[in-house]
Symmetry: C2
Subunit: 575 residues, 2 copies
């Protein structure tokens, strides 16, 4: 069975199953979503109009037994940034989509009538069904109702109220193996799904399997690959404390953006740290280690219980905890966990929305430190679509514009995440040059700037940062195409058996003869495809900048500014 393109036209309410064009065959995940968006979407179109397309693709290795290969890529023109966008997440969707023989879903058009729909995908194709019961409901209720409606183990992609309201921070949520939620969080892809009036998508692969050209070679390579992942010390730290291990590390480095990016250290860091979280989870009977998709050997997720020892949230990430914590000066992990759960339920990006709260605090909407206030605004304003809720749900840039503020931490209108570019300069290059707005995952220089993975580049000097960001952005684009979790990068940078084993798996799966150089070429070509889309959409070098205040306001405790010239930033694209 050869994989197919599953196409849905929401204007005509028709579907089709199509052969994969030759020029798309070598792509998967982000490489494929970006290639399809660049080929089929007019770069100047309105992101919420009928000309935009939502593309969903498993990675090249998704659906196989390859360790950590269960990430799903979702792409479109972003309503938040106006750029091309790919956002990937765990959950069961990538693996089941691949097993259903689907190379990518392409959803185009918008319905003429004011009705809502769901999509049901099987290996035979997609059916479109009108949906009424679940409209206006949060993601947890959607999952709960679908548990009783659906037969067997099916994947679910869903939007909450934020996506229905087409808020620019709306995410697409993906059911995980435990029935929890994973988020394609960044860039407002939930708003694109909402604009097409699709509340949820189910994926039933029946008894489909992914074909492997050389199963023995594949298994052998996967053993080497998985061992490299498991052996890396960062993997072990992630398994114990989750990504939230970073709170104390980044605070110590003076790069933990605090009080809407006015300091690099947070007095309350201990209270929200990975260590505190770990102990609290143990005390309340949650899970310290937890996987977001089957086959993950790192298990950086966790299940966090409330004081009554009942499950409150899972997949409780450093960036979310930082944003609600240090950036909003909230030092109460239970408030942060509750806010995290509400945002997952509404279906809205935790980074964008929490940074928006920090900007709103500066604008006087609520006091810094008011964690209960954050939860109240999420429940009462954002979920209901009040005017204030819509301002916050449209992201940090929208809050900044509404309140006429200048300290607004966004690049290409997307919120800057948990690493201050004045104290960790490499990540500033990533924020500025990324094809998708500010996003640490696009080229995670923290690895080398702070964690000494893949070498060591001093975070406080300019030297080597552009090259570091470039190498990581290229590698990331390739990794994002395989369905692999980005956290394989630590092993790939430090263990010389890791990347060859990954290439071996690709070769064994598709009967190819790729080399490491081909992987680099793939990453470069993806970045260039994405950048060409953005250029046609009207983006220029003038958009590859951090906000003015990073250049003019020194950040304590190092009292440094971001001091790259425009020309220095522009050299990023010399490849």
């Amino acid at each position: 069975m050869t994989d197919k393109i599953f196409r849905v036209n929401m204007s005509t309410l028709t579907t089709s199953v199509e052969e994969v064009p030759a020029e798309w065959a070598g792509h998967g995940g982000r490489g494929l979503t970006s290639t399809i968006v660049a080929a089929e979407v007019n770069p100047t179109c309105h992101p919420l109009g009928s000309a935009n397309k939502l593309v969903i693709a498993p990675g090249l290795l998704s659906g196989t037994v390859a360790a950590n290969s269960g990430r799903i890529s979702i792409g479109a023109k972003s309503p938040l940034t106006g750029t091309i966008k790919e956002s990937n997440a765990g959950g069961t969707a990538a693996q089941l989509l691949a097993r259903a023989g689907c190379k990518a879903i392409i959803i185009e058009g918008v319905p003429g009538e004011d009705k809502w729909y769901s999509l049901a995908l099987t290996p035979e194709g997609i059916t479109i069904n009108e949906e009424t019961e679940l409209i206006g409901k949060g993601n947890f209720e959607v999952l709960s109702v679908l548990d009783s409606r659906l037969e067997g183990k099916q994947a679910v992609l869903t939007i909450g109220q934020a996506g229905e309201m087409r808020l620019a921070a709306a995410n697409i949520s993906i059911k995980d193996p435990d029935g929890g939620l994973r988020s394609s969080g960044r860039g407002g892809l939930g708003a694109v799904m909402g604009s097409k009036k699709i509340k949820f998508i189910t994926i039933d692969p029946k008894d489909g399997k992914v074909a492997i050209a050389d199963p023995d070679k594949f298994k052998q390579a996967n053993r080497v690959f998985a061992k490299a992942l498991v052996d890396h010390p960062i993997s072990q730290g992630l398994g114990q404390y989750g990504t939230n291990v970073l709170v104390n590390i980044i605070n110590e480095a003076g790069g933990l953006p605090t009080r809407n990016f006015t300091s690099g250290q947070f007095d309350g860091h201990e209270a929200i740290s990975g260590e505190t979280m770990h102990d609290t989870i143990l005390e309340r009977g949650g899970k310290v280690k937890h996987n977001c998709h089957a086959g993950c050997v790192i298990q950086c997720s966790q299940v966090y219980h409330d004081a009554k020892k009942e499950k409150l949230t899972s997949g409780f990430e450093y960036e979310s905890i930082w944003a609600m914590g240090a950036d909003c000066c909230v030092d109460n992990l239970d408030h942060i966990a509750e806010a995290d759960r509400i945002m997952d339920d509404i279906g809205i990006d935790t980074i964008e929305t929490s940074v928006a709260m920090g900007v709103a605090m500066e604008g006087g909407v609520l006091e810094f430190g008011d964690g209960a206030g954050v939860c109240r605004i999420l429940k009462e304003e954002v979920a209901s679509g009040s005017a204030l809720g819509r301002i916050i749900g449209n992201g940090a840039g929208a809050v900044g514009r509404a309140f006429g503020l200048t300290r607004v931490p966004v690049v290409k209108n997307q919120a800057i995440p948990a690493y201050d570019p004045r104290a960790i300069k490499g990540i500033g290059i990533t924020y500025a040059t990324s094809t998708q707005g500010a996003d640490h995952t696009m080229g995670y220089t923290i690895a080398t700037n702070i964690l000494n993975v893949g070498g060591n580049v001093d975070p406080l000097t300019k030297e080597g940062q552009v090259e570091l960001s470039r190498n990581l952005q290229v590698a990331t684009a390739a990794i994002d195409s395989t369905g692999m979790c980005l956290f394989i990068a630590f092993a790939a940078l430090d263990n010389e058996t890791c990347l060859p084993a990954l290439v071996d798996m690709l070769n064994a799966r598709f009967d190819l003869n790729l080399t490491g150089d081909d992987v680099v070429s793939l990453g470069q070509s993806i970045l260039k495809t994405e950048r060409a889309f953005n250029s046609a959409a009207g983006f220029t070098a003038a958009d590859d900048r951090l906000p003015e205040f990073f250049y003019t306001e020194p950040l304590p405790p190092h009292n440094t500014v971001f001091d790259f010239s425009d020309e220095e930033i522009a050299t990023f694209w010399d490849f």
Copy 2:
């Protein structure tokens, strides 16, 4: 006495009076504000930050007896569009500023402390005074209190609550000879003034006079010029019905955007027409003819009374009436006049805010036709800075983003005014290519498309529109530099004595030997200066577009779309 530059630094709270650099000497009005902004403002700066500058300049002929020469130009980087911006208005400021010997005021920096200030300008310089009493007050109260505070006839420029809140649609209001208000409406310049914490500026020229090199030649030329203005039939129509004479004309042409740009004709057009307004004014004892500045011979303003025969508003323009009327489906002129007065008091652009109301109606905030609701939202939400008020006060684009809508009539985030570009195609070229976002006054093709002034170019075909818009945009940039009202263009296009007389006045004032060709060159060079600023700010040809729906949704009754290709639009810049 040679004119000087009056500079104010709000960061240091210092002022200076400087010689005019040679390269600025030949400029006035818009040419000068744009030249200064381009020279001194970093194009990528935050419009509300300390790097932006607010520049205020009288026209080259302002302060003289030249007919219709009392327009003041205000420029900055716009918080609404992100482009360079010039907005001009009547009132007494241009004439008194010129008589004070001021070539331009340049206001830079932002105060470090959270205090408000006023500026007092005399021929000796500017003093900065802290202001407390009038903070939070509307423009009418500011004028009333200043009437008792100030000695003699002084000009006043002021911001209302909208400017204090730095809303992107905030205007700068200028006192007129009757103590009413004129608005530098477009582009949010009031927010720039608010960001610099300046509530108002007073101008006292003492006994200053404008020097004329050849007074006899000047007087002679002005006689010819004024006669050309007075004789033109459009001037006469404007004097009788105001600009609102256009409601019935544009409705008849099928280009009156109605119900948020879904039709080109409004059933209620008679109720809001210039003819109805004229009769209502007569009946209630208002003024049919009224001037916005001393020396105007057209007098298109009027004073509109309420049902109790008390003054409600003046300067009641077609574009404002259209926006609250046809675009919001409000067919009650009293509601529209009340809304107009409230917006003048808050200090917010009537076009931007009313188009924003139309988009909000589409978003379900209130019903189309609810004129009382519009007034209530202005008074209760916008004036108080509620979340909804801030969304609407940030303009049509902000409302579209907040509510996730696609039918959002903006170009470069500025609301499209009262002429639908599907039915009047020349104006679409102006909207798309203007250096300042959608703005009919930048190149008023209605003159030739609809009013048969300067020839006749069929509004429904593409032929000749690019050239028409180009010629008018070039001419307008030059006219905006003289301090002349744009309505001199009708006579200039049709009466061959008009433009030479204007050139004669410039030569007589400054002892020059300009020709008509020099005026064209001046206009071209201003457009190029403005465009270069925008390019450096990151704008490209991809921004020179109308919103998608103008290309895809046919407009009744002609059922036409805007059908210029990107390449055709780009030819605008071939000069």
